[in-house]
């Protein structure tokens, strides 16, 4: 069986121009720089990494909200990169996004009905006469009472607003959802409601999901497979449970060891791997392996040549991009 979503050697570069009359490219930010991964139908891929590592850019490029610089994105066997115009619009119904901040991603001047009916009208999902019925159905799906249809976003709490943006994403009956930090702006008790909802919806609607988050305990909980990004590249990917229990790449190790545990005894005994400094700028990435300036295990080889993703062992599905896998 072919994979539902396949991404091959995807690059998203942002040129920075200098001069206003005859602009010249001064530099290129390689936000996503040669990423390959695949997601099976109905699977949740967790995408983690520090801010600025390119995880949101990757999500947006997959949805074609940003232009692909190079590479291939294929959904259900069809390459999306060359699709343009009307045909791309048709494909957009199959892929939707849930944004981080439910305070900013909803139009304050549109009622819930307006927000949910707009995509339905644009893409002719249901006949006009059935709009109200469909909006009610969507609201029920995400656990909102349809009687709130005529209310504005400011009349809802943060959790309810996130439900509205989930309903909006579901309106076009998509197959793929990219959720970009969907619970980061919410309180813990509300966060758990939204996570439960996402898992229910996945089951009911057979959704495939890319779940982007910097909160690793949330990703560990929700995702089937995991991809760890660092400076525009995936440095480790594999079965979520396996990677969390037995991380191979030094960056993954450090990232996972930094998660605070809600358990005072374990916290007192825990040995954190403290990384020095901040991630380098994608404008001027280090030579060789981009993690080597912060890596405790770096050798001369790491400084000059980079390593591609490679299997870490015979019995493992995990891939990691490190010269020294298994040597520490």
């Amino acid at each position: 069986m072919s994979e539902f979503l396949e991404v091959e050697n995807l690059k998203t570069h942002f040129p920075i121009y200098e001069g206003s009359f005859f602009p010249k490219v001064k530099a290129v930010v390689k936000a996503v720089d040669g990423v390959s991964f695949h997601v099976k139908r109905g699977e949740i891929l967790g995408l983690v990494g520090e801010s600025g590592c390119g995880k949101s850019t990757l999500g947006r490029t997959v949805l074609r909200l940003l232009d692909i610089t190079e590479g291939r994105v294929s959904l259900d066997g069809r390459d999306l990169a060359p699709i343009k115009g009307k045909e791309l619009n048709r494909y957009r119904t199959q892929m939707q996004m849930i944004f981080q901040d439910p305070y900013a991603s909803l139009d304050p001047r549109m009622t819930v009905y307006d927000t949910l009916a707009e995509p339905l009208m644009v893409h002719n999902i249901v006949p006009k006469a059935d709009l109200t019925k469909e909006v009610s159905r969507l609201m029920n799906t995400v656990g909102l009472a349809p009687r709130f249809m005529k209310k504005y976003p400011h009349e809802f709490s943060g959790g309810q607003r996130q439900r509205i943006s989930i309903a909006r994403a579901l309106a076009l009956r998509p197959k793929l959802i990219v959720a970009d930090e969907p619970v980061s702006a919410l309180d813990v008790s509300i966060q758990s409601q939204i996570l439960n909802l996402l898992l229910d919806l996945r089951k009911e609607l057979d959704l495939t999901m890319i779940f982007i988050s910097h909160d690793l305990s949330v990703v560990r909980y929700i995702s089937d497979r995991l991809a760890v990004m660092y400076l525009g590249k995936i440095v480790e990917t594999g079965d979520s449970k396996e990677v969390f229990e037995n991380p191979q790449h030094p960056y993954t190790k450090a990232l996972l060891s930094a998660i605070p545990q809600p358990d005072p005894k374990r916290e007192r005994d825990s040995k954190r791997i403290l990384l020095e400094g901040d991630p380098p700028s994608p404008l001027n990435p280090p030579t060789g392996c981009s993690f080597h300036p912060r890596c405790a295990y770096a050798t001369a080889e790491c400084k000059t040549t980079s390593q591609n993703l490679a299997p870490v062992g015979k019995n493992s599905q995990t891939l990691a991009a490190c010269h020294r896998i298994g040597q520490f």
Partner: protein
């Protein structure tokens, strides 16, 4: 003796929509060199309670209705603006949540760093700059010469937060109030910052009040924990008491709803309903409408904190108190 002792603090906001009882009678002590963690959801009053101590509440609409906050024999809540300014930023400093907005974008880092020194001490500009350079080194920022002459936008988020910490600690305060200091940061940088606060705390024996909604962070930094809900402290105790032997349904529900305590894909526990509307007077326990263990008397009787098994552990749950007494 406690370094700071707060008794029955009430901060209300008088708004057009009624009186918001943001902080409604809380008491706590912090000893030198110790860390008090305050947890709670948005709107539970955790930040307002600390802003009240430093006179940072906009008045009106805010008003401190009652309470005392004894710090070295003086009541912070009754001090004049001038006297409070002598303490604030010198003996008590604060780290705010958002490093992006809390530094002055027009001022060089060095000038901002030495401001508390020049204000509170009789020190030359040159000596102050030397101290500022050392303070930056202490928080792990190198090339201090260059960095002191940079502007905040030239720093990353993690570095700005470290600058804020350096600024808060440059006067070697006796009390540090940290309001969600790591919430805006990545885990790796969070680990650095927490490590740093701990190290500096040991060096200068500072007491820390650490506000956060992240139970994982609290487990790592706090000696004592106060859980706030609806403007009140509903449970207080040593970190172990709270995490391993919680005596309040809200604390338990909070612990049960975080993904870290669940297996992969296992249904998460959810607290139904919404936090209370603080403009309305609540006759009974404010958590009663959302509580799974609620009894009839919970809806009519106001609970007070009461000592549970260990003397340091207090809970404001009528049902648990009754069971404990029996």
């Amino acid at each position: 003796m406690a370094l700071i002792s707060v008794k029955d603090l009430k901060t209300y906001f008088h708004t057009r929509n009624g009186v918001v009882r943001a902080v409604d009678g809380i008491s706590f002590d912090v000893e030198a060199g110790k860390t008090l963690g305050i947890v709670g959801e948005s709107g539970s009053g955790k930040s307002v309670s600390q802003y009240s101590l430093l006179g940072l509440i906009p008045m009106p609409p805010g008003k401190i209705e009652s309470g005392t906050a004894m710090f070295d024999g003086q009541d912070l809540l009754k001090l004049s603006g001038e006297k409070l300014r002598k303490i604030r930023g010198k003996r008590i400093s604060m780290i705010f949540q958002d490093p992006m907005t809390c530094l002055n974008p027009y001022m060089k880092i060095g000038d901002q760093l030495i401001e508390p020194l020049l204000t509170h001490f009789d020190i030359s500009h040159e000596d102050a700059m030397k101290k500022a350079a050392q303070a930056l080194k202490n928080v792990g920022i190198h090339e201090t010469e260059k960095r002191l002459n940079s502007y905040p936008h030239q720093f990353s988020g993690g570095m700005r937060q470290r600058v804020m910490i350096a600024m808060a600690l440059i006067t070697e305060p006796e009390l540090l109030i940290a309001d969600e200091p790591t919430t805006a940061l990545d885990v790796t940088v969070q680990a650095q910052v927490l490590d740093l606060i701990k190290k500096l705390q040991q060096e200068i024996n500072t007491a820390v009040i650490f506000i956060t909604h992240d139970l994982g962070v609290i487990a790592g930094v706090a000696d004592e924990v106060a859980v706030m809900y609806g403007g009140k402290i509903v449970e207080r105790g040593s970190t172990d008491d709270i995490f391993y032997n919680s005596q309040h349904p809200y604390t338990k529900a909070l612990m049960a709803s975080i993904p870290a305590t669940h297996a992969h894909g296992e249904r998460l526990y959810t607290i139904e309903g919404l936090p209370p509307n603080l403009t309305k007077a609540i006759p009974g326990c404010s958590f009663a409408p959302r509580c799974g263990e609620c009894e009839d008397y919970c809806k009519t009787t106001k609970p007070e904190l009461e000592v549970m098994e260990s003397p340091s552990h207090e809970s404001a749950c009528l049902k648990y108190q009754k069971e404990h007494r029996a």
